[in-house]
């Protein structure tokens, strides 16, 4: 694929151009808290491509916390129903995705649109989005993408990929959509020298992991083997279950968690809206059926489900990779200290005992 060398100014211009026709999302640093959010940009000045990994995964843009998937009105007197069968479709640019979040989107793509049934709601969001990734020139505290093979540089899935070099940005094209954008601009071609420089940047970033990314390590292949074969002792799941506060935070910050609930809500004006909201397998109501029969009551039954989903071979067949993409957010938010890297450690410790 073709490569180009752009100045910082040209990158900014590209974002400005998108802003005319698209909703542009990108990393921004909150002035008060210093937290990074991947939100819609009103002005390109707020875009910070050097910002740390965003607090929330970018799935919010493609698979929102709550979304209307159908609107209808039922007239009981006339015994008639009118339905509004449409989704909000709006072109979007995700500018400056971290490679781990890119891998998360790929997992969602394969799960929602790569299987027997296609999820229309997700497809509508995805169809009109342009993905621009941004190589991490350094890791952050909670990163472990080197363990999950999702960084520090994106390898596939993007339309355009940016890497900050000494003299500007190396832009690599990853799709026809990306090539069309490149062709529309007279960008300067990059050559092998810049590619070598990128490789050096990536290698330096990897070298910085022992020093800078000290929070998490996860040798997930070892855990996958145990989980897939069902060899994990029940006591280990009980231990994990006892630590769980059933808050669901891990699911909501995970770039690959995609469970949802559907509820019909009556609006004040007589309309009904079918809402799809994210759900978490840690909640007791998740499997509860009508008549209050619940096949999965103990919390450890629900907790091991989450790790089964992330780390079993059968689920990986749907994702074409393990369900964990190494962003470390679950470890960051978990009040019970059972983020995925920790659970992998417990499982591995069990195997050596």
């Amino acid at each position: 694929m073709s490569m180009y060398l752009l100045t910082s100014q040209e990158i900014k211009q590209l974002a400005e151009e998108f802003l005319q026709s698209h909703a542009v999302y990108g990393p921004q640093v909150d002035a008060q808290t210093g937290q990074v959010f991947f939100d819609q940009l009103d002005a390109i000045d707020a875009l910070d491509l050097d910002a740390a990994i965003p607090s929330m995964p970018v799935k919010e843009i493609l698979f929102p916390q709550m979304e209307r998937i159908l609107k209808y009105r039922y007239d009981a007197d006339q015994q008639a129903v009118t339905m509004e069968k449409s989704y909000a479709e709006k072109p979007k640019v995700l500018f400056g995705l971290r490679p781990c979040d890119m891998a998360g989107i790929q997992v969602l793509d394969r799960f929602f649109i790569g299987q027997e049934y296609v999820d229309d709601v997700y497809l509508v969001h995805r169809r009109q989005s342009i993905l621009i990734t941004n190589t991490c020139t350094r890791p952050w505290d909670q990163c472990f993408c080197v363990c999950t093979h999702t960084g520090p540089a994106a390898e596939e899935g993007f339309d355009l990929d940016l890497t900050k070099l000494a003299d500007g940005y190396l832009v690599q094209v990853g799709s026809e959509k990306g090539q069309a954008i490149a062709d529309a601009h007279g960008w300067k071609k990059a050559d092998a020298a810049q590619l070598a420089e990128k490789n050096a940047v990536v290698n330096r970033s990897i070298d910085l992991f022992p020093e800078m990314a000290r929070d998490n390590k996860a040798w997930i292949s070892r855990a996958m083997n145990r989980i897939t074969t069902g060899l994990v002792k029940p006591e280990v799941w009980e231990y994990v279950g006892n630590q769980c506060l059933e808050c669901g935070a891990c699911s909501f910050v995970c770039p690959t968690c995609s469970c949802f609930n559907i509820e019909d809500a009556n609006m004040c004006d007589g309309d009904c809206e079918r809402l799809r909201t994210r759900d978490s397998c840690s909640f007791e109501g998740y499997t509860r059926m009508a008549g209050d029969h619940n096949p999965r009551i103990p919390v450890e039954d629900r907790r091991n489900k989450r790790f089964f989903c992330k780390l079993s071979y059968s689920q990986s067949k749907k994702y074409l990779r393990p369900g964990c993409i190494g962003c470390g957010r679950c470890q960051w938010v978990c009040p019970g200290d059972i983020g995925l890297p920790n659970v992998v450690q417990y499982l591995r410790r069990e195997t050596t005992e």
Binding site: Q79, M83, V118
Partner: protein, 290 residues
């Protein structure tokens, strides 16, 4: 046109093209009381083109919308051939209670049919035993009617049916009709003796002995509450039946029907797309308690 990848691969081939995303509107033509809290709703699609393309396999289910209340998964009792489209539902939760409030002429939404369905071609030439407990007869009805429509393709066809009281027995007129078919054996029991009942008394597994069920070249379809399911399986296993020959249909909370919401996950399978029909051998290895 369905919007699933299935369309190119299988929909066109087997003609089973589900309604995936937006519900299609159906009219309630008739409502019949089956038992306390159980009603049958006969329905027809408003869009006749949709009705023509709406074809089911026995054992599949639909997602049914009660407008204003929500959507629920429900198994399909009608036979795939020459049968009225209907569902039989017990009022147990928010949406099913709302459904029971509806009148003839009210509208419902339907998505589906989803799921793998019972085997039919594969079991031709075999004896079939249907074992149903309570409302477990609802998902089996489709297969029973279908098998009786092709009576000569099968060996013995036996129905073992148990319910709590005589008043809870479903599909009474249907069962009388089926009994007219040559060689259809029915054994019906209720849990405790009651005035006016001169049939069998006891749990459904006692009927296995009475019916002297065959073991070889036989499949058993078992559907009912977990406690009944387990004791029936025990009896069949003792008689030397193969784990592959015992077939059941499972239920779980479902939201989407197409393998995306993951509410119906049991171990490594999803009941909506991999199931709801499993053999006992599969059920044993799902990796989670049923």
């Amino acid at each position: 046109m369905c919007n699933s990848l299935r369309h190119e691969e299988t929909c066109q081939k087997d003609g089973l093209c589900p309604i995936v995303t937006f519900p299609e509107v159906v009219n309630i033509d008739e409502i019949a009381d089956e038992a306390p809290e159980v009603k049958t709703f006969y329905m027809s699609f408003l869009d006749k083109e949709v009705e023509k393309n709406f074809r089911i396999k026995s054992g599949q289910f639909i997602m049914c919308t009660v407008f204003g209340a929500g959507e629920f998964a429900v198994s399909l009792p009608p036979s795939p051939e020459n049968d009225r489209f209907h569902i039989t539902v017990r009022a147990v939760g928010k949406v099913t209670n709302a459904l029971h409030e509806l009148k003839v002429g009210d509208k419902l939404g339907v998505r589906g049919p989803f799921g793998n369905g019972f085997p039919f071609e594969e079991i031709k030439g075999k004896n079939i035993i249907y074992v149903a407990g309570g409302i477990g007869l609802i998902p089996l009805r489709s297969s029973i009617v279908h098998a009786l429509q092709h009576r000569k393709d099968f060996g013995r066809i036996i129905l073992l049916y148990g319910s709590r009281t005589a008043g809870d027995l479903l599909y009474q007129p249907d069962i009388k009709e089926w009994q007219k078919t040559d060689g259809f054996e029915t054994y019906i029991t209720i849990d405790r003796a009651e005035p006016g009942w001169d049939g069998e008394v006891g749990y459904v597994n006692t009927l296995i002995e009475k019916a002297n069920v065959p073991v070889d070249n036989t499949v058993a379809f078992v559907c009912g509450p977990p406690i009944m399911f387990n004791s029936v399986i025990d009896d069949f296993m003792k008689r030397g039946m193969s784990e592959d020959a015992i077939i059941s249909t499972l239920e779980r909370q479902m939201k989407c029907g197409i393998g995306k919401c993951q509410h119906c996950a049991i171990g490594r399978t999803l009941v909506c797309t991999d199931g709801p029909v499993y053999t006992y051998r599969q059920i044993k290895t799902l990796g989670e308690v049923i």
